[in-house]
């Protein structure tokens, strides 16, 4: 059992080291980095986020959002300091790439911690638990290693399927920035007007879709008949990647800040929410988009049209929110 864990730990260490060197060489390729690049990258790879206190849950979402914003600014500022001449798209891609490298570093350190603790205390149960979860941990680490490659090249990733659907709907239409890093276009859909939202691309970005939905609803004083949210969803073993399913509720992943905002504003104005989900494995979510997932776009658009026809009247206003990382997808 120990040998098995040692093997996985060795693999995780290689992934961590390779991730770090890919990040450094990608930044080097972007231009002339200022200062000692390796030291700066190493400092970021040891970055720790401290979540808000939950002993008093009142206002925790607002506090959590503040911490997420600070982290986002800090990563992007660090990239700007490293490569001052980089444009916004590259800054976003590198910040996300460093995030993936940070994840690989943390996974390696956690696994090493439990392995050494188990050995030091001669605890069979610590080792057993580690051995039980290791295949899943290694699988996730491999997915992030693939993500790191995608970030260096700016290729669209599986998570961006919601943004891709929105981009297809928005093609050729005027867009404006409605919230931080989120753009909106007015698109005619089956005789209704759809406010189609997506994160601002083609740099790696998820934006603040919750804030954008809130802004549209406030602008229209709640006169929105339906909100349709499109996002990638974790597929179960045996399900096909790219399978499209429907549901109700806010399909926005992440820490829950954006989901909370949509739920709150939709409840205030009593707007029904539909979700269209595209099934993907964890490996597909963070790696370059698979053909099967790209092929689901037409099906999703047909479903949007059907939902709009069945649940709204001509002339109504609706919101279509394409959620996900918009890397490699413009508008």
């Amino acid at each position: 059992m120990l040998r098995e864990i040692e093997g996985s730990l060795f693999k995780l260490k290689l992934m961590r080291d390779q991730g770090r060197s890919i990040a450094i060489s990608a930044i080097n390729e972007m231009g002339k980095p200022s200062g000692d690049l390796a030291t700066r990258v190493d400092r970021l790879l040891e970055h720790i986020d401290i979540g808000p206190v939950d002993l008093d849950p009142s206002g925790i979402i607002r506090r959590l959002e503040h911490i997420i914003d600070i982290r986002d600014f800090r990563f992007k500022d660090e990239v700007r300091l490293m490569v001052p001449e980089a444009d916004e798209t590259h800054v976003n891609n590198v910040a996300n790439m460093l995030d993936a490298a940070l994840f690989l570093n943390q996974v390696y350190k956690f696994v090493r911690h439990f392995y050494l603790t188990g050995k030091k205390t001669s605890s069979f149960y610590v080792i057993l638990q580690l051995q039980m979860i290791l295949p899943q941990v290694v699988k996730e680490a491999e997915a992030f290693a693939r993500a790191l490659r995608s970030f260096t090249l700016g290729q669209p990733m599986g998570d961006g399927i919601g943004a891709l659907v929105a981009a297809r709907l928005m093609y050729g239409k005027e867009e404006r920035e409605i919230a931080k890093d989120v753009v909106v276009s007015e698109v005619p859909v089956e005789g209704r007007t759809a406010y189609v939202l997506k994160a601002k691309g083609p740099g790696a970005n998820v934006g603040k879709p919750g804030e954008a939905v809130k802004q549209v609803l406030e602008e229209k004083e709640g006169k929105i008949e339906r909100i349709i949210v499109i996002d990638a969803a974790q597929k179960l073993e045996g399900e096909k990647p790219g399978e499209v399913v429907e549901g109700i509720g806010v399909a926005i992943g992440g820490p829950g800040v954006e989901k909370f905002k949509v739920e709150e504003i939709a409840t205030k104005y009593k707007v029904p929410i539909n979700a269209i989900l595209i099934k993907e494995s964890i490996g597909d979510v963070v790696s370059t988009m698979r053909k099967e997932i790209v092929n689901s776009v037409d099906d999703v658009i047909e479903r949007i049209k059907r939902i709009v026809r069945e649940t709204t009247k001509e002339g109504d206003l609706i919101i279509v929110a394409g959620i996900g990382n918009t890397m490699g997808i413009a508008q």
């Binding site: 060795f10 693999k11 290689l14 992934m15 390779q18 991730g19 890919i22 680490a141 491999e142 997915a143 992030f144 290693a145 693939r146 790191l148 490659r149 090249l153 700016g154 290729q155 669209p156 891709l164 981009a167 093609y171 050729g172 691309g201 083609p202 073993e237 096909k240 990647p241 494995s281 490996g283 790696s287 370059t288 988009m289 698979r290 053909k291 099967e292 997932i293 790209v294 776009v297 490699g328 997808i329 413009a330 508008q331």
Partner: protein, 130 residues
Amino acid sequence: MNETQRVARRMPVFFLAIISVLLVLSFISLFQAVETYRRTGSPDFLTVIMSLSAITLSSYMLLQMRRKPLKLGFEMPKVFTMVQCSSCDFRNVREFQKGDYILKAMEPCPKCSSASFISSIYREAEEKEE
């Protein structure tokens, strides 16, 4: 082969040493069996069979120990870019190039001279993937 794969090729030295010793001993034993046959004229089938079996077994184990390089996930998949015309049915699939992104305006359509754009970028899944 990239650097990671070279680093990842790790041979268990201890087992390698044992198998090498076994292989050498088997050859010595086979050589002795042949020498004995030359001197006495009577073949020692048991020694020959056992030596050949040991040689086969240790060679097989050596081949098995030649581990495949670890796949870390950094390998580049084949990624394609589809360029589509905005008015006719023209579509062109080519390999992904750095700087490509979806909805990027491309050169006019060779068929109807209308605007064309990148409609999708995707990778073909490996066969073992679900």
